[in-house]
């Protein structure tokens, strides 16, 4: 690795993403079938260790803690980098580690860190009424999975699928090799910079990953915190782009940013951005310090999703007509905010979690 991530991991990530995934490049990738550039992913692995950020050093990664990962995701949110970053680094790695399955870790983490394997998690959205995937034991440690997951991030391209399924002895994590007999149908995604797919399993061979499932929810909460951080980046970028535009766009002989109607709105955007950042950072820190990380994660996911969607909508509004065009980037951020809101539970779901916490807190 020429330039490993270190202290200012957030800024480093920002530079990397800016260099290798500028807006022009994102427009290209948006139109491609895969939606990202596998070669770039492998190059990032070699040059920056990005895919292995959360992978412990013993497996060839950098073993960064959640707050550092959150900084990287905030940077990713700012650039809408097209890559299996969330699926692999945000979802699969934390879940894999949470299972405490050393075998699995030894088998999959090194190629993930090397960028030669991408992974994702397939988890039906129970809150949206999707039925669970069922797992039946076959022989030895081999299982058969059946069911359908409506939306799997990078589900069409990931080399490894970690499926959360219901077995005879409760829910567990199961690994499905991409080569196995499963149907993966790419979906059109509101957010073209992050693809999803339907995954259908019919007695698909799978191996069980770990047996202790106590780490499952915390791992998913970690992923939610990373989405929250990404949403902070989304909102921050919308604010910055809007402020820059308001400074240079002239109407009525003045930069529109000199009009109070714009100033009041921009200040409101800043407030949402900063509160969202406080939510995401606190949640990331809480996860380490584990002081009620679950509530902090739920609060962050809910607040950041709503804040980012609102700020992105304001960005479209304050840009006027140009902000309504496909060519302008504002809509990409708006769509990312909406989409993130629906991944791993919507704001409504997570606000309810916070309320449930308050049932006992006072």
């Amino acid at each position: 690795m020429d330039e490993p991530f270190g202290a200012d991991v957030g800024e480093l990530a920002a530079t990397v993403f800016a260099d290798s995934c500028p807006p022009s490049r994102i427009r290209e990738l948006m139109a491609t079938p895969a939606g990202y550039d596998p070669e770039a992913w492998r190059r990032w692995a070699r040059e920056t260790g990005l895919p292995g950020l959360g992978v412990p050093a013993e497996y060839g990664g950098l073993g960064l803690p959640l707050p550092a990962l959150a900084d990287v995701f905030e940077a990713a949110g700012r650039t809408l980098v097209c890559a299996p970053l969330f699926s692999t680094v945000g979802l699969a790695v934390p879940l894999l580690l949470a299972t405490g399955d050393a075998e699995a870790a030894k088998r999959w983490l090194p190629p993930i860190a090397a960028g030669t394997l991408t992974a994702t998690v397939a988890l039906p959205d129970a809150a949206a009424g999707e039925p669970a995937v069922t797992a039946e034991p076959h022989l030895w440690n081999e299982w058969r999975l059946s069911g359908r997951v409506e939306r799997v991030v990078d589900g069409a391209t990931a080399g490894l699928l970690l499926v959360v399924a219901e077995g005879p002895d409760g829910s567990g994590v199961f690994a499905v090799d991409a080569d196995e007999s499963l149907t993966r149908t790419p979906l059109m995604s509101l957010d073209l910079t992050r693809r999803q797919a339907v995954v259908e399993l019919l007695r698909t061979p799978a191996t069980r990953v770990g047996t202790d499932t106590t780490g499952l929810e915390p791992a998913l909460d970690a992923a939610r915190v990373l989405l929250a951080a990404e949403l902070v980046g989304v909102a921050q970028q919308c604010l910055d782009v809007t402020v820059a535009y308001a400074k240079q766009r002239v109407q009525f002989g003045r930069p529109i940013g000199s009009f109070q109607a714009i100033k009041q709105r921009a200040a409101d955007m800043l407030i949402k951005v900063e509160l969202a950042r406080s939510a995401a950072r606190h949640a990331a820190a809480a996860h380490e310090a584990d002081e009620d990380p679950a509530v902090a994660a739920a609060l962050a996911k809910a607040y950041c999703a709503e804040a980012a969607a609102a700020v992105a909508a304001d960005a479209i509004q304050l840009h006027g007509g140009i902000g309504f065009t496909w060519e302008h980037e504002a809509h990409l951020y708006y769509k990312r905010a909406i989409t993130d809101d629906e991944i791993l539970g919507s704001a409504a779901t997570h606000w309810t979690r916070v309320s449930d916490h308050l049932d006992h807190a006072f």
Binding site: D125, M188, L192, V250, F252, R265, I316
Partner: protein, 425 residues
């Protein structure tokens, strides 16, 4: 149709429709209503038949016969309108009727009216609007497109944007700058321009929903005969006001793309959607108290929107000038529709973030993007423009505060300065 009273007008109109409209449409309307009509009639079929409707004069019954109307009194025209509503015979060529026509009535010559109004009514000449420019949106009067006199013609050069239906239009109303040394409003002239000529290039403009509803229009030495100038040279801003108020009305309160406004109003549909969602995924729709409260308020506000419009119509009907209530339609209606569409999309849950793509989608994801997009998502995306098109909410609120509430205008250091000197873009 010679009639003297609203009742006669109604009778004549109904009689005409029953005799002259395709019987299958009439039957569908009288039995099944709107949706039934859509079953038996394609938009193309309607467009083909439309000139027949126009010939009857019922498209603009209050207009003089010479322009394609029936010379009916407003009360008669309104009565006939109401009587025909159940037959779902929508007017076509909205920009011709709402933008070009008012300008011609207010400031056109008799020759111009006789030449342009009848084809507008027949929809045989479709119109669009060439007002907005990349550098002149909220501040439309700062527009830069130049018109230079050339004998008995004008040569137009500049760029226009946000033109709806330009690729389908034959003519456009055009604002161009004829005196750069005058203050911005005092150097604009109003033209009627034919779009089928070498100097006019129309490019599609994709909006954030991935669809193409708008165009950019590039004018390079496009030619307009002076006979197609409306109003005096440099008096175009006054002429435009007539049509701008027209646009305000058209946009105000109207639902946005993606939502079939014939098939049930936005919020009523939202209630049904919430109930469907509750049936499909218990606890996430009408059976969720938060959704219920949100949808209820949106429905209520849509009622208030309608009742407010009723107040305006009643006042006008009573021959009085409508009050402040007439000024809030655009600002409230656009914001309300945005919230209605967003709630509708949200009711899809995760379903609002993905959809089945056409098999060949992946050759170009951007091209294929709108195919299969859920109507609620299309509506939610399209409605983002509601608070921008036809005047941004911010600008409109300032206008309401100044013109309706009488708050003082801001000091404008550029007031009265030559357009040439004022910063732009």
């Amino acid at each position: 149709m010679a009639c003297a009273t609203p009742d006669e007008a109604v009778a004549a109109a109904l009689d005409w429709v029953r005799r002259s409209a395709p019987s299958s449409w009439v039957r569908a309307a009288e039995t099944g209503g709107a949706s039934a009509v859509r079953q038996v009639r394609t938009p193309d079929e309607y467009r083909t038949w439309y000139p027949t409707l126009a010939e009857s004069g019922l498209v603009v019954p209050a207009w003089p016969v010479a322009y394609g109307g029936l010379d009916w009194a407003p009360a008669m025209a309104a009565a006939a309108d109401r009587a025909l509503r159940p037959y779902h015979l929508p007017r076509l060529n909205p920009l011709g009727l709402n933008l070009a026509a008012p300008a011609l009535f207010a400031h056109g010559t008799e020759d111009q009216r006789l030449r342009y109004l009848p084809p507008i009514v027949r929809n045989t000449e479709v119109w669009c609007q060439l007002f907005s420019e990349p550098g002149a949106g909220s501040d439309l009067a700062s527009l830069s497109t130049r018109a230079v006199r050339d004998g008995d013609h004008w040569r137009i050069t500049g760029q226009k944007v946000w033109t709806t239906w330009a690729h389908l239009a034959d003519y456009a109303v055009l604002l161009a700058r004829t005196d750069p040394d005058a203050p911005k409003r005092a150097g604009i002239t109003y033209f009627l321009i034919a779009l089928d000529q070498p100097g006019v290039e129309i490019r599609p403009l994709r909006h954030l929903g991935g669809e193409i509803d708008f165009n950019e229009v590039f004018l390079a030495d496009a030619v307009v005969p002076d006979a197609q100038r409306v109003g005096a040279v440099n008096d175009g801003w006054r002429v435009a006001r007539a049509t701008l108020s027209g646009e305000r009305q058209m946009v105000s309160g109207s639902g946005s793309g993606g939502v079939d406004r014939i098939g049930g109003a936005g919020a009523g549909r939202l209630v049904r959607l919430a109930k469907e969602r509750a049936a499909a995924v218990p606890g996430t729709g009408w059976d969720d108290p938060l959704v219920r409260a949100d949808v209820t308020r949106l429905w209520a506000e849509e009622q208030l929107r309608a009742w407010t419009n009723q107040r305006v119509r009643a006042t006008v009907k009573a021959g009085r000038a409508p009050g402040p209530e007439s000024s809030i339609g655009k600002v409230h209606g656009s914001d309300l529709n945005q919230r209605i569409q967003a709630s509708a999309a949200a009711l899809l849950g995760p379903g609002r973030t993905t959809w089945r793509a056409a098999a060949d989608a992946w050759s170009d994801a951007v091209e294929a993007y709108p195919d299969g997009m859920p109507a609620e998502v299309r509506g939610a995306l399209r409605s983002r423009a509601n608070t921008i098109e036809g005047g941004t909410t911010e600008v409109n609120k300032n206008i309401i505060a100044e013109r309706v509430l009488g708050l003082p205008r801001e000091p404008d250091p550029w007031e009265g300065k030559p357009w040439r000197e004022v910063p732009r873009g």
